[in-house]
């Protein structure tokens, strides 16, 4: 066989792999793209570099050098020669150039030479996988580009009559079943081509009956496979026309029955066979038409509408996030009324549709709701724009961050960058971190002035005192980069880069051979778990949230270790289940069902406890500070000298004073005098961190064991990033609180980076299906939502965790306020030394600053959420645009469309997570308010 012209189509791939798997000797010569596509598929191969379009001859001459000797040697079942010169010549010179004439006559000679050497049982197939336009290019969908020549030749007569004047058009997908059946191989399941029946007729036999029978049996084999495919496809998806589907199925069953009957009675008429052939062909063509009609439909209007809606929604997020913190922003006209409008519009639309008897399309309804709420908003915004707001507010994102967002936006339009996103995201994140450090440096917050060896170019020196030492922020940055680098070691390769090696650490421990290494790894995984627990507990202890007798704190102290224990035990069972002695099999099986569920239940109950009593504050009602009694030295007798008088009189005075004060206090000490509440300063973030840890454990259980190291890195690097960001965010005590754009972008980037380092790729073959069987080793029966939930939680774990943790970006700078008086905190925690009480006034207010300005707090939360949604929104906007603009691209179904789907689901998960995170903060806020109210009531009593 001989393939002429350029790139590989899917048919060839399927064919080559198929043949190789069936033990055929496949020899290849030509374009070296095949080397990467089918590593190890060929028994013998001659690859030649093909990238340079100007090079017309290397590949062709290389093939010609080997083609005839290989043919004559006879050591092949299938020989593929991929000539490339004509394609390159078309790109370079176009179709009407003398070079093209030379190239074409060379190809003619090749075909002549091959025809002379062919043996009787050999078929020569000359195909081009595409044509070329008048300029010699291809890749579009014009008639000239998508039509190519097909030439079949064999020394044995192939066709019964003379070839027709106007040859029929053979679809490219029909090559696969034809060649597969000719080689004696099964037709690939997913192919819906139709065999070229003429090739199966036995012309020389001269018996029309047997020839027709051969054709019919080939077509029947083909039709059986297509029918199987149709059955499986229509069961999985509902987008085929039902009536047409039934008609085709009936057609097939009739034709099949006829065929079987004719086989039983071989003396049947030739005419009957011909009708069977026609019926089968009708069936195959009908299936193809049906599938093409339902698959290759692009609704351009919907695409454009969806993209416009998304862009408008991003714009809304941007505008509102800008206005949310401005003082004159009122919530109702801008957000509530448009929402109501949208809802009303949807209901009216649904009503109209049902009354007119049309089908209710949820997509249309959703679009109506979105448009209905967006339009009033934009109208309001337009109305309020000209009067007060300057146009500069339109682009509030600072330049460098805008550059990063633009790079990220543009990267989605290149298939290479989408494939390489796992490497590109850490790069961007690292750059953003370095930029943050550099920014701190320029703002003069990082280094003390004496270390600034270079005077600034033309910036005025900042006068404010440095808030942090240089080594501190630099250390944070280096630690962050180190974490990112380490997380990059966990890396799963995309299919498109065959040279890349996936990290072996992503596979479960059970797949490891070698007991010692397995034990070591198991130890490391459990170590990571314990370290994660230790980090969280250390953090809580540092802000002394571990002392309260509240149930949620008790859960953190005792429930979390229990969860760690359960996880470790489950891993031990899962990794060594095959080595268990037979008597313990039942026990092991039972435990591997119970343990993950127990951990999940523990985590859920912990979250419930947290929602029930989120205020982890230790309240101590003390009756004032213990007084120091002056020790009175015994003295008896009247004073004898002046010195005695000098001593005694002050003593008596002091004694009287204390007596008096003591009596006063006794009268007042009915109710609690002072209330010392610890950990109020970190009450919000403590709840957040606890919730995140509780969420992380079940998610961790869904992953392979060694990914626990990635979870540990995730927590570490987000802590580091939060500290670094907090160093750059000034605390504006009364005024509006804002979270800068760079913080939000870095957070979103880190979510993407963690998605990849957890071993995911945005393609369907890379989904970790085994997650569905954690806790359900026997499968799920008929239920589908639970396994879907488990697999989804596994895939989008990082999206969920980062979205829920997003409010930490707002809270952390307030938390870092207490960096100075750290020592005092510890001594305060020591209950014996209650005497340090007077210093309590100097204690930082920390997160209570947020409570002091509830209006600003709410606005900041809204702004934070909208900013995060905006950053995610432009990602998904870019993905959608890329998938719709490049819908005819070679890689659209392999790269762009899956990326869009993953990004869309990730966006939904992130939105829900963000909502949950903000809701948790609001819940804590409400609980703190009620707690204060109770306190005041108790005071008054």
């Amino acid at each position: 066989m001989l393939d002429c012209c350029a790139r590989t189509g899917e048919e060839k791939e399927t064919r080559a792999l198929h043949a190789a798997s069936a033990g055929r000797r496949v020899v290849f010569m030509g374009d070296d793209t095949w080397k990467d596509l089918f590593p190890g598929a060929f028994s013998q191969a001659f690859f030649f570099p093909s990238f340079n379009v100007r090079d017309l001859h290397t590949v062709d001459n290389g093939i010609l050098e080997h083609l005839y000797p290989t043919m004559d040697s006879g050591k092949w079942d299938m020989l593929i020669a991929h000539f490339l010169g004509v394609d390159h010549c078309g790109h370079k010179y176009g179709p009407h150039h003398p070079e093209m004439a030379k190239k074409l006559s060379q190809m003619d000679q090749v075909i002549q030479g091959l025809v002379e050497r062919l043996e009787n049982d050999t078929l020569l197939v000359v195909i081009g996988d595409h044509g070329m336009t008048m300029t010699g290019d291809h890749g579009g969908d014009s008639e000239l580009e998508i039509s190519a020549a097909l030439f079949l030749y064999s020394p044995k007569a192939l066709f019964p009559g003379a070839p027709p004047e106007e040859p029929e058009i053979v679809p490219q997908i029909s090559l696969v079943p034809t060649l597969a059946l000719l080689l004696g191989l099964p037709i690939p399941f997913g192919n819906i081509g139709e065999v070229m029946a003429e090739l199966f007729s036995e012309v020389e036999d001269a018996q029309p009956h047997s020839s027709a029978l051969a054709q019919a049996s080939a077509l029947h084999l083909n039709a059986q496979q297509v029918s199987r495919f149709l059955h499986a496809y229509s069961a999985a998806s509902q987008d085929l026309q039902i009536t047409e589907l039934h008609r085709l199925q009936n057609l097939f069953s009739n034709a099949s029955a006829d065929y079987q009957r004719l086989l039983q009675s071989p003396q049947g008429a030739e005419a009957a066979l011909q009708t069977v052939i026609t019926e089968l062909q009708q069936f195959l063509r009908g299936v193809r038409a049906l599938c093409i009609q339902s698959w290759a439909r692009f609704s351009l209007g919907r695409m454009a509408g969806g993209a416009a809606l998304m862009a408008a929604a991003c714009f809304l997020c941007l505008l509102v996030s800008q206005w949310a913190t401005s003082p004159g922003f009122c919530f109702r006209p801008f957000l509530l009324i448009p929402m109501a409008c949208g809802l009303a519009g949807t209901i009216v639309c649904a009503g109209l549709l049902t009354t007119t008897g049309l089908k209710l399309d949820p997509v249309v309804l959703g679009a109506v709701a979105a448009v209905g709420s967006l339009l009033p908003f934009l109208w309001k915004a337009w109305a309020g724009w000209g009067s007060k707001r300057p146009l500069a507010a339109l682009l509030p994102i600072p330049g460098p961050v805008l550059l990063f967002l633009l790079i990220r936006f543009a990267a989605f339009f290149s298939d290479s960058f989408v494939v390489a996103e796992a490497r590109a995201t850490p790069f961007l994140l690292g750059s953003l971190i370095l930029l943050l450090i550099a920014q701190l440096h320029w703002e003069g917050k990082l280094l003390p002035p004496k270390l600034l060896t270079m005077p600034r170019l033309c910036f005025p020196a900042s006068t404010g005192p440095p808030r942090h030492s240089g080594t501190y922020a630099l250390g944070l940055g280096v630690g962050l980069l180190l974490c990112i680098r380490l997380a990059g070691l966990f890396h799963r390769c995309p299919e498109e880069t065959p040279a890349c090696r996936s990290s072996p650490w992503l596979s479960p421990l059970a797949s490891m051979v070698g007991g010692r290494a397995k034990n070591l790894w198991y130890g490391a995984c459990v170590g990571a778990l314990v370290a994660l627990l230790a980090v969280v507990r250390l953090w809580l202890r540092r802000y002394s949230n571990l002392k309260s007798p509240e149930p949620s704190v008790l859960f953190v102290r005792w429930g979390l270790p229990l969860m760690v224990l359960g996880t470790a035990a489950y891993w031990a069972l899962a990794s060594g289940a095959d080595e268990a002695p037979p008597r313990l099999r039942a026990l092991v099986a039972g435990a591997s069902v119970v343990l993950p569920r127990a951990v999940a239940v523990l985590a859920a109950s912990g979250l419930m406890l947290l929602l029930w009593r989120p205020v982890t504050v230790l309240v101590k009602a003390t009756t004032g500070a213990p007084r120091t009694r002056t020790v009175l030295t015994p003295f008896s007798g009247p004073p004898t000298s002046q010195a005695d008088l000098d001593y005694v009189v002050p003593q008596i005075y002091r004694h009287m004073q204390e007596e008096f004060r003591g009596r006063l206090e006794r009268t007042r000490s009915r109710g609690p005098l002072t209330v010392a509440a610890y950990q109020l300063g970190s009450v919000y973030s403590a709840a957040m961190v606890t919730a995140l840890t509780l969420l992380a454990f079940p998610l961790l259980l869904l992953h392979a064991e060694r990914v626990s190291l990635v979870f540990l890195l995730l927590f570490l690097q987000s802590f580091l990033l939060l500290h670094l960001l907090a160093a750059g965010i000034p605390i504006t005590t009364p005024g509006p609180f804002t979270v800068p754009w760079q913080a939000v972008s870095a957070w979103a980037l880190m979510a993407t980076q963690t998605f990849y380092s957890m071993g995911h790729q945005p393609v369907f073959p890379a989904i970790h299906w085994h997650a569905a069987f954690v806790g359900f080793p026997e499968g799920h029966g008929s239920s589908t939502w639970l396994p879907a939930l488990l697999v989804g939680a596994n895939t989008f774990a990082s999206h969920l965790l980062f979205a829920v943790g997003c409010p930490l970006l707002l809270l952390w700078p307030f938390l870092c306020e207490s960096q100075g008086p750290r020592k005092r905190w510890q001594s305060l925690g020591n209950e014996a030394e209650a005497r340090v009480r007077p210093e309590e006034e100097e204690e930082p207010l920390m997160e209570m600053r947020l409570r002091d300005a509830p209006h600003h707090f709410n606005a900041a939360l809204l702004q934070l959420g909208l900013k995060y949604l905006f950053v995610l929104g432009i990602q998904i906007l870019a993905c959608a645009l890329a998938a719709s603009i490049l819908r005819r691209h070679l890689m659209v179904w392999k790269v762009f469309a899956p990326k869009f789907i993953f990004e869309a689901v990730g966006f939904i998960v992130s939105s829900v997570g963000l909502f949950l995170g903000i809701a948790l903060v609001m819940r804590v806020d409400g609980a703190v308010s009620s707690w204060f109210r109770q306190l005041v009531l108790a005071q008054q009593r």
Partner: protein, 198 residues
Amino acid sequence: MKDTDIKRLLYTHLLCIFSIILSIFIPSFFLENFSILETHLTWLCICSVFVTAVNLVLYLVVKPNASSKRSSLSYKVARFLKCCIYFLMSCFFFHVIFVLYGAIIFETLQLREIPPVIYIFVFYRVTSIWENSLQITTISSFIGTWLGAFPIPLDWERPWQVWPISCTLGATFGYVAGLVISPLWIYWNRKQLTYKNN
């Protein structure tokens, strides 16, 4: 701030650029199989040696910090040692950054960032337009390195898309761009620039 200073700066920078261009062509007369892409490391070493030599010569000739008061031998030795320490530290610093950016640890021991680092070393602690230009060239070569990483994932399959080559080429281009930009920038902003020592 005098215009003559800026002119001198411009000429020295042009010499530097010339030396880089020379480093592309001259070695091919002496070395077999020399090409920038295939024997990249050799070219890089030669290039940095050229730039260093030119800078040293220029330093001795131009004497940008002739105003330094003390010129005893011990002072010079002390300054030289200080420069060496700074040089090693900056090498280490850059090395750490590149490793954290994803470089393979041992591969980076190739003194990749020689041109800008040498430059820091030579003109260290000078308070004049020389230092401004130093800052600009360093920053621009850093940005060039950063930009050089972008073509790596693309599937053009060009020989210069391999990992270190595109970055070092980017660094060199950025350095050259910085050499060109800095005199112009200083010229445009000469009104705003004031120096303590001048």
